[in-house]
């Protein structure tokens, strides 16, 4: 715990220093700045982090639960690494549009996003830590059942036994989500890539 604490403090201090390093205010209204690489890194990091979180909390289907426990924290760490490493990468890729006299701009822009995420994760880390410590997270699984025992008669579907093979219906919405996600992503990518490089952000 001690080594974690000292490293944690070091990390926090480094982040704070990065945030507090003065940047130029004139850059604040301009666009350009960090490319949307951070968005991609952020998305990947979120997926890894979320999967890791599910694993740690044992919220994976029973068959894979042991894998979740085993790999959860590593997935979370991987997510964090992707985020920080991505931040460095995005900063080095540089700005799309440099205005005269804004040498600090690239760093300022990355500062802003790292700062935002630092706040976000610090807050949630603190909340999670406090929640774990107070035991609140383990309470109240019974709360789930309260809605089933109130006076409102459930729908007939609550008693309808699933026939063999019907569980495969769950793939219909999954397929719909997948198709739509691909459709939107493809549409956006096609539109962006059809632009001349100078016109892209």
């Amino acid at each position: 715990m001690k080594w974690a604490r000292s490293r944690g403090t070091a990390l926090l201090t480094a982040l704070l220093a990065l945030l507090l390093l003065p940047g130029r205010a004139a850059a604040s209204h301009l666009s350009g700045g960090e490319s949307d690489l951070m968005g991609i890194y952020g998305g990947i990091s979120l997926v890894l982090g979320f999967a890791g979180l599910l694993g740690i909390l044992g919220l994976v289907p029973a068959r894979w639960r042991w894998r979740g426990y085993r790999w959860g924290r590593w997935l979370l760490a991987a997510g964090l690494l992707v985020l920080i490493g991505g931040g460095f990468h995005a900063a080095t890729v540089g700005t799309v549009e440099q205005r005269a006299g804004d040498e600090a701009f690239g760093r300022l822009a990355t500062q802003q996003i790292v700062g935002t995420l630092a706040v976000f994760f610090t807050f949630w880390g603190a909340v999670y830590y406090l929640a774990r410590k107070s035991g609140v997270l383990n309470m109240g699984e019974s709360v789930k059942y309260s809605v089933l025992r109130n006076g409102d008669p459930p729908e007939w579907t609550a008693y309808r036994v699933e026939r063999p093979g019907e569980h495969r219906l769950m793939w219909v919405p999954v397929a719909a989500m997948g198709i739509l996600a691909v459709f939107f992503t493809a549409g956006v990518l096609i539109a962006i890539l059809r632009l001349q490089p100078g016109a892209r952000l």
Partner: protein, 468 residues
């Protein structure tokens, strides 16, 4: 005038009147869509010539958001909160008074907006007096609900209760601050006005429309499946994440615009983070549906709920994506945004309200839904119409953005010409949606007047519905 104190009457009356406002609001929406295809439609027709797109559009948005969806939400609050609290609604009488108040207020909205009394801020168009009255309306509902919570017998707060409480505590704050503290002089001007307006415009979605809708699903799913929510932990993460992450996202409506870069970055980062609360909700949903997927085939409420979840996922897949600066540069100001907005309020939250009405109304008025066939028609027509609607708008938006980007010399008209087929498809989709809702309203009407008595213990598959 004595208002009824019958248990469940306020909820039922809100549902009845909300669907009427839905029909009216959607009709104005269809009218607006048709005006984009035939711009000279009302030209030279006395009185109607004033109802140009610019006057019709705010009538549509205000009546569907504050008339239909908020009305249905009040009904949902009055239905679900007593049941998760294990006690009656604190005052049906006050609830029914609020129903009358709400209907008068919505009429005032419609009339004043058609007359052109527009405050010039999106989703905050109503005049100052009406805004004050809107706060009063929310206060009447929330007071009733909070008193119900205070008197509750069920000590444990179920997930739905959190979401409802969260909405009650935050939505008024959003409304008041977002409407410039309800000061008639509107002291916040310039770019700050836009920042405050979009703080309001987006967060009224995140702190009013989302929590009640998601809370409703958390109630409906166990009732429709007989399973408890899959994970209590996940539901906690989802709720608190929503409360925290949604707030700073407002400025994503102003990306690449004349607002500070840091504000845009904050909004974009938090918009991307919104993926988490949505995925927790969806994961929970999928887990809860375990072993009940077969029932979806035979239950329209379940169909609407499942479909709403798909659209919810898509809304919150599109949302983070479109807040990125490069994507925004293509789709901002285009029809894509219109499609996205409807994915949320129509595809997700209205569909959830349809499921809620099909579930709650029989229990409120002790009548079976009159026609299973009409329910099916309602679902399929809504789904097909809406899919046509948002797909055409999405593609149209990408075409629009590409047209602008490709042509640097402001040959704007090309983008207008190219939108025509998409506007036509959108109007078709909209007409189907409206048609579906007409069937829905008819079914409700027949249920109320001629439905068979509701048998809550019915366990035979497919035998619940009487009539046609």
């Amino acid at each position: 005038m004595m208002f009824s104190n019958v248990e469940g009457s306020a909820s039922r009356n809100f549902f009845y009147t909300a669907v009427i406002w839905m029909a009216i609001g959607m009709s104005f929406g269809l009218f607006a869509a048709v005006l984009l295809i035939f711009p000279d439609l009302v030209k030279n027709i006395p009185v109607l010539e004033y109802f140009t797109f610019g006057r019709v559009r705010p009538v549509h948005t205000n009546l569907v958001l504050f008339g239909w969806l908020s009305g249905a939400y009040f009904a949902t609050l009055f239905y679900m909160v007593p049941r998760v609290c294990g006690t009656k609604l604190w005052s049906e009488r006050l609830g029914n008074f609020t129903v009358v108040f709400y209907n008068l207020l919505m009429t005032a909205y419609g009339v004043t907006l058609l007359l052109g009394m527009n405050a010039g801020r999106e989703y905050a168009e109503s005049t100052w007096v009406l805004k004050l009255l809107t706060v009063v309306m929310f206060a009447l509902v929330f007071f009733n609900v909070l008193m119900t919570f205070a008197n509750r017998k069920e000590k444990e707060l179920y997930v739905t209760a959190w979401y409802m409480l969260g909405a009650i505590v935050t939505a008024p704050v959003i409304y008041v601050i977002g409407n410039q503290f309800l000061l008639p002089t509107n002291p916040i001007t310039g770019v700050n006005d836009a920042v405050v307006n979009w703080f309001y415009g987006h967060n009224i979605l995140g702190y009013w429309f989302t929590p009640i809708g998601v809370g409703a699903v958390y109630y409906l799913l166990p009732k429709l499946t007989g399973n408890p929510i899959w994970s209590h932990k996940l539901s906690m993460i989802g709720f608190w994440m929503l409360m925290f992450v949604y707030g700073p996202t407002g400025a994503h409506h102003l990306v690449n615009g004349p607002v500070p870069y840091w504000l845009q970055t904050v909004a974009i980062a938090f918009s991307v983070c919104l993926i988490i609360p949505v995925w927790t909700v969806l994961t929970n949903f999928y887990g809860t549906m375990n072993g009940r997927w077969g029932a979806v085939k035979e239950s329209v409420p379940l169909k609407f709920t499942v479909t709403a979840m798909v659209f919810y996922f898509i809304t919150c897949f599109q949302g983070p994506m479109q807040s990125l600066r490069s994507v925004s540069s293509i789709i901002h100001f285009t029809n894509w945004v219109v499609g996205h907005a409807h994915l949320a309020v129509l595809g997700t939250f209205s569909f959830i309200m349809f499921a809620t009405i099909y579930y709650a109304l029989p229990r409120l008025i002790n009548r079976e839904i009159w026609s299973a066939k009409l329910m099916d028609w309602h679902y399929w027509l809504s789904l097909i119409g809406f899919t046509l609607f948002f797909v055409s708008l999405t593609i149209g938006g990408l075409v629009q953005g590409s047209d602008w980007a490709a042509n640097q010399s402001a040959n704007f008209i090309a983008s207008v010409i190219n939108q025509r087929p998409f506007n036509i498809a959108r109007a078709f989709g909209g007409a189907m949606i409206l048609g579906a809702q007409v069937l829905f309203i008819y079914n409700i009407f027949k249920t109320a007047t001629a439905g068979r008595v509701f048998s809550g213990e019915s366990a035979e598959a497919g035998s619940i519905v009487a009539g046609v």
